[in-house]
């Protein structure tokens, strides 16, 4: 089955998460992605793991393997003129270039749109910058944690009962993922515009701005009501909490009034539930310190899966606190065919997380494992760009590919 983006050629100069994730999304929809890595060490995601048996190996990093399925891999030193000239030749043949090199590195390499547009006026070039390409923080050093803090999500998470503990990041490289998927959306917008008139353009994405836009209602507490929102404040609605059952953790979640009423019924109509301090969701939030132990006492006697099922039978949106094992072994996810077994010549055969969404006519699919460092050098540099084997040998000797 042809993909929605089959025939679209993408060059990815990606490190770690953001640009690689954007290109992963496009590759799964059928785009051909050529991933350019530096010749010596490749994408730093190769050093991140997790590794089988926890033994580091550049071809076995879980983060790299996950992000780079379906891609062709070449190595190229963009710091030297000859390497950059080869990039320009590749750009002539492609539709999209997406990268997340930091702005100071772009400046040093001369990786700018005006230059590449000259070799290919139909090019869509997307830069994912931590703070964008203008403004006083343009050249700031950024790491995922720093961006998660600078964009606003980090300040919101924590434990109000332990104000001495810092604001808490979410697991993993979430700034990178959000930057990547938003960049993929913006890139598709530019491809849609190009469909009208054949002209490319430059797309710039700021990861800080992406994160500042996903803060739920909290940003507005300041701009609508003059209130600071941080991890030490009350939730507007309760119960919305992770609570401990006798055999694990469950998320107790009542947003609509009928959900709370059904939960009270499920608990056997305890006397305290009639107290006026628990009369609506706002009251339950204000009086959460009183309500929490009462709920915990009952929840603590239940088992996770029974409570999950009983709540859901009453249309109460509880959910278990899933471990990775729960997810990998989930009957629901298996029935949906979410995980896909992928064989990699060095890393071996593992179950990968699969499609993020299911377009019925043009499915998102994994067709091949992540590339070994430089795996497609010959296919691309000789096959596509017409370099002779001896020229390729010379470039390899010189450390350019």
């Amino acid at each position: 089955m042809a993909g929605a983006l089959s025939g679209v050629r993408v060059i990815e100069i990606g490190e770690m998460v953001s640009a690689p994730y954007a290109a992963r999304l496009m590759a799964g929809m059928g785009a051909e992605v050529i991933k350019i890595e530096r010749p010596d060490t490749g994408d730093p995601a190769r050093t991140r793991g997790p590794f089988p048996g926890s033994t580091p190996h550049p071809e076995k990093s879980g983060l790299f393997l996950f992000l780079n399925v379906n891609k062709l891999g070449v190595t190229l030193d963009l710091e030297c003129a000859e390497g950059f000239a080869l990039l320009e030749k590749l750009v002539q043949q492609c539709d999209v270039l997406i990268h997340n090199l930091p702005p100071p590195t772009m400046d040093r390499l001369g990786l700018d749109f005006e230059r590449l547009e000259r070799v290919n006026p139909a090019l869509v070039m997307t830069t994912i910058g931590p703070y964008g390409l203008s403004g006083p923080k343009r050249n700031w050093r950024a790491e995922d944690l720093a961006l998660w803090a600078a964009g606003g999500p980090c300040a919101l998470n924590g434990d109000y009962r332990h104000p001495e503990l810092p604001p808490l990041k979410a697991y993993g490289q979430q700034a990178g993922y959000q930057g990547g998927v938003h960049a993929a959306v913006a890139t598709m917008g530019a491809l849609m515009a190009r469909m009208r008139d054949g002209k490319g353009q430059y797309v710039e994405v700021s990861v800080q701005e992406v994160l500042a836009g996903i803060l739920e209602m909290t940003f507005g507490f300041w701009t609508y009501a003059g209130l600071v929102a941080n991890r030490l404040g009350q939730k507007p609605v309760q119960p919305l909490e992770v609570m401990e059952c006798r055999d694990g953790w469950i998320y107790v979640c009542c947003i609509e009034e009928h959900q709370w009423q059904s939960f009270v019924t499920l608990m056997g109509e305890p006397q305290w539930a009639k107290e006026s301090i628990f009369s609506d969701r706002l009251q339950r939030a204000v009086n959460w310190d009183a309500l929490r132990p009462l709920l915990q006492e009952w929840v603590g006697k239940q088992s996770v899966l029974d409570l999950y099922r009983q709540a859901q039978e009453r249309r109460i949106p509880f959910a278990p606190v899933s471990s990775l094992g729960d997810l990998v072994n989930s009957e629901h996810l298996r029935a949906r065919g979410f995980f896909a077994e992928i064989d990699h010549p060095v890393a071996g055969r593992w179950n990968y997380p699969g499609a993020p969404f299911c377009p019925q006519r043009t499915p998102w699919q994994i067709r091949s494992a992540a590339p070994i460092l430089g795996q497609h050098n010959r296919d691309i540099f000789s096959g596509r760009l017409g370099l002779s084997i001896s020229e390729l040998g010379r470039l390899k000797e010189a450390g350019i590919v």
């Binding site: 703070y131 944690l145 606003g152 917008g189 701009t223 507007p236 998320y251 959910a319 996810l333």
Partner: protein, 420 residues
Amino acid sequence: MSEQAEANARYPLEGIRVLDFCWVWAGPYCTMQLAHMGADVIRIESRKHPCVTRYLPPWADMVPGPNRAFFFNQYNLGKRSLTLDLKAPAAREIVYRLAARSDVVTCNFAHGVIERLGFSYDRLREIKPDLIMISLSGYGDSGTYRDYVAYGPAQVPLSGFSMLTGYREFPPMHTAISYPDPSAGIHGAFAVLAALYHRGRTGEGQYIELSQWDSSMQLLGDALLGYAMNGSQPERDGNRDPHMAPHGLFRCKDPAESALGMPIDRWVAIVGRNDTDWAGIARVLGRPELAADPRFATVAARKRNEDELERLIGEWTAGLEADEVVERLQSAGIAAAVCADNKFLAEDPHLNARGYFCETPHPEIGVRKHAGIPWLMSRTPCAINRPAPLLGEHTEEILTQLLGMTAQEIAQLKEQGVFE
């Protein structure tokens, strides 16, 4: 669009119409992206059961009202609103006629709801053969739990985030925001755009099924693959990182202001990626000898002595303003940033200099800051040309403009309660 109109189009999605049945957050976040790119997004709303986000605080100046809620006004920027009582046959007829003039239909109801309303993809495709339709639901259209109810906050623990997120030796934590909602929404926007691209080349529409659970698990891809490899669940470890130290948040001087008695503290994120970074941090701390100190000289040593490492840095930051800590570290090439709360963000000189915030005037609450568009396009700019709609604001406008209804027809329908 005519060829002439196409040639004059300014926005990437100019001429694309979206019939939007979405509500709460995931779906509206999806369709807001399309509106940002110039699509005409028509939100179908109900006066009897308006979107819950119209009734959640904060409201402008804390005066409740369906048009005053930030949550709604933020994530529906640039859309139009049409109110319909979808149980009324005349309302259904209006939807069918609008579908005929739309490119995309979106919804994020629980499994089966849109079909029961009479708007299954098969039905709508009879009216508009190249229609693209996306359904974003918590669990998807298939699988054991497809009929379960899902709310954004509960998708955080369900999708695996909570078990991985938290302080060391503390219980699983949430992510504070309903993180899977915007994640599903933005993945949905990508899927719709790819489907539009496919339609542009082939003339074929399609139905897209999106399970919020599936899209959320993408963001944990490395951990899931790690479990497949080793069968192990990483322990919750606060803000630390297995490969870098320091990697954490450090408390600075509390800011002077305090809003309504709310405790406000200020923290700075600091990351030392390698030994060179660490030497730079040691110099900024005024303790250059720490670079070669055997307790901290290598990443392995810093990981072993991370409590002590964090104590030393925390001692230094405690006496300084957060901005100054960041300034000094950034000058030394170290990744550092203030952990921004909403006020700090709204006042951030960088974001303001970039013109990030959207301050399109709103007829009921005036000019307020909202998060804007996080990308810039050089040739076909994106823009927010209208604020979030008042409830039902565009009902008559849409029926007149798109369906050619007369004022008399509209008045009759109104009398029948079709716009409730």
